[in-house]
């Protein structure tokens, strides 16, 4: 059990008043709040150690380089990987773009890339663009009406076959919160020699992840959803694969030797980190990893799962709510729903007037909304600092919303 009162004291922003109400932050799947430890670590870095990495040989430069590389080591150990397999990017989108761009050097007409209809746009668009550039074909997994990956249908249609060169799937939907069977699909991808890419943006903040057990070849995730700062994302990759990939962005620090005629490239991970990297952000991310480790990622997982279960109960008590995805179990932190025929943007506005922060829209997953037959939805998402009172406040604010928009009660609109 988490000591919720203690944890909440670690996040000063949770003390905030919004529109005269105590802030109820239920938008952590969008970005998590940051504990004091992270803010202080970054502040300490900029106040006393700031310098560029690798290229500055003086004392501060050495300290900054050490801090940056130690952040890499911490992130690596957090997911059961080696430092040399960790590439720092700007965000998860850039990490996925890096994967799509470099892997597209292997794609051509007749090749197939497989994703799913439930992906975040950042795991759809880079692959669409890679296919447009190379003439490869984009195919995708369907989901069932609860949002679970339809593996049976995919098997029946031989979705992954000898033409498949890349499979890229999210480990957990940012809309329904359901997990996808990554180990099973990785094994299938590897049978046909395809590279398995995983979008771990939603999973890594919530569950203990061991990349070896996941079975994937590349995994993208982001710092800001796991108590770290914005501006830093991560691409993990099997080293042999990274070694075989061409550079993505080019410029300073990704080179071995530059002449005016040609350039040879640095070894991974540096080959993929052109220019000055997010140094202060890496320091903040390392502090976030320390913080999550200290609290205990298993305990966090248990807490968010129980908050999600409670949220499903509270939502089930409002007849006008229609939850997307399974109504119980098998889902982690995100719960998206509709409220009668009140548009999610309007729901969000009334909730915000009560200090309750949720997301309204398609959450960068328009194809999934279309598949589930809704135009957009309201999403609440919990994290280690979420309390049952937060969920109660959500329930009350939803009741208020129905009254505000004069929805006839007792029907589903």
């Amino acid at each position: 059990m988490l000591d919720l009162a203690k944890i909440r004291r670690d996040f000063p922003v949770l003390e905030r008043q919004v529109k005269g109400h105590q802030l109820v932050y239920l938008d952590s799947a969008n970005t998590s709040q940051k504990p004091t430890a992270v803010i202080q670590a970054m502040s300490e870095f900029f106040l006393t150690h700031n310098a560029n990495v690798a290229r500055a040989m003086h004392t501060l430069g050495t300290e900054a380089s050490e801090a940056y590389e130690s952040a890499r080591a911490k992130v690596a150990s957090f997911i059961g990987a080696q430092s040399s397999q960790i590439i720092f990017t700007k965000n998860a989108s850039e990490a996925l773009n890096l994967a799509a761009y470099t892997l597209s050097s292997r794609l051509g007409p007749g090749d197939e890339v497989v994703i799913s209809v439930a992906e975040h746009h950042s795991n759809i668009v880079p692959w669409q663009m890679a296919c447009e550039r190379t003439g490869a074909t984009l195919r995708w997994f369907d989901v069932d009406d609860d949002g679970f990956l339809d593996v049976e249908k995919a098997r029946a249609q031989s979705l992954i076959n000898e033409s498949t060169k890349v499979v890229s799937l999210t480990a957990m939907s940012n809309v329904t919160g359901v997990r996808f069977p990554i180990a099973e699909i990785s094994a299938w991808a590897h049978v046909v020699g395809a590279v398995m890419v995983v979008d771990g943006s939603q999973l890594v903040p919530h569950e203990s992840v061991d990349v070896a057990a996941l079975g994937a070849d590349l995994m993208a995730f982001t710092g800001h959803k796991m108590c770290g700062p914005t501006g830093i994302g991560i691409l993990w990759g099997r080293y042999e694969l990274l070694e075989s990939l061409p550079p993505f962005l080019s410029g300073g620090e990704m080179i071995e030797k530059v002449t005016m005629a040609r350039t040879t490239y640095a070894q991974p991970p540096y080959r993929f980190e052109a220019g000055t990297p997010p140094i202060g952000e890496a320091v903040g991310l390392a502090a976030a990893v320390d913080y999550l480790t200290e609290v205990g990622i298993e305990e966090i997982a248990a807490h968010t799962t129980s908050m999600t279960a409670y949220a499903l109960d509270v939502l089930a008590a409002i007849p006008e709510v229609r939850v997307l995805g399974p109504s119980s179990g098998d889902r982690v932190a995100a719960v998206s729903f509709e409220l009668a025929d009140v548009h999610p943007h309007d729901v969000m506005q009334v909730l915000d007037a009560r200090g309750v922060a949720v997301r309204g829209g398609h959450h960068c997953a328009r194809p999934l909304h279309e598949r589930l037959g809704v135009q957009s939805s309201v999403r609440m998402s919990s994290y280690l600092y979420t309390t049952p009172e937060d969920i109660d406040a959500l329930g009350n604010a939803l009741e208020d919303t129905l009254v505000f928009f004069s929805v006839a009660r007792g029907s589903r609109g």
């Binding site: 548009h343 943007h345 309007d346 506005q349 009334v350 007037a353 135009q375 957009s376 505000f404 004069s406």
Partner: protein, 169 residues
């Protein structure tokens, strides 16, 4: 809830519940599709222009109350107006919406549209209020391009060769 009732004026909710001029109609000169990517609002809008008069604006839309109501009010205002006057109405409405409460509209000219002054206090909703107006402006520019380009008659169909004006999104 004070700010909220200011945002959601009764007039706005009335238009939302009962949209004016809704539905796609013929004849039309240009059809445009506009979206608000952040919240997923989508709008298909048609305009019909005869002798520099906006004779019809028809639309099909999914979206929040603000975007729906604003589009409804906009059609009330511009149908029957000269194209140049419609552009002026667009400009005035935009100035008010972006004015953060410092710009007031003339009720004589703008009618129900003055109810949107509350939106100006909610920067995140400005795009919602502008969705229909932006689509209208886009469509009218395309009509003008089609009519005035080389003196040919009005195209009755979507003309993909017409260059897109800068996106309003």
């Amino acid at each position: 809830m004070d700010n909220l009732t200011e945002l959601y004026q009764e007039i706005i909710l009335d238009h939302y519940r009962q949209k004016h001029h809704s539905g796609l109609r013929e004849p039309f000169d240009v059809e445009v599709g506009h979206v608000n990517p952040s919240c997923g609002d989508e709008l298909t809008l048609r305009v019909s222009v005869v002798d520099d008069q906006v004779v019809d604006v028809s639309y099909e839309a999914v979206g929040c109350s603000i975007s729906q109501a604003s589009t409804s009010v906009m059609t009330d205002l511009v149908i029957g107006q000269p194209v140049a006057e419609s552009h002026q109405l667009y400009q005035g409405f935009l100035t008010m919406i972006e004015g953060q409460g410092t710009v007031e509209l003339d009720e004589e000219v703008y009618g129900d549209a003055i109810a949107f002054y509350g939106v100006a206090q909610f920067p995140a909703r400005v795009k919602c209020a502008m969705l229909g107006w932006s689509a209208l402006r886009d469509a009218l520019i395309r009509v003008e391009t089609v009519t005035n380009g080389d003196g040919t008659v009005l195209s009755r169909f979507w003309d993909t060769t017409v260059p897109s004006p800068k996106s309003q999104m």
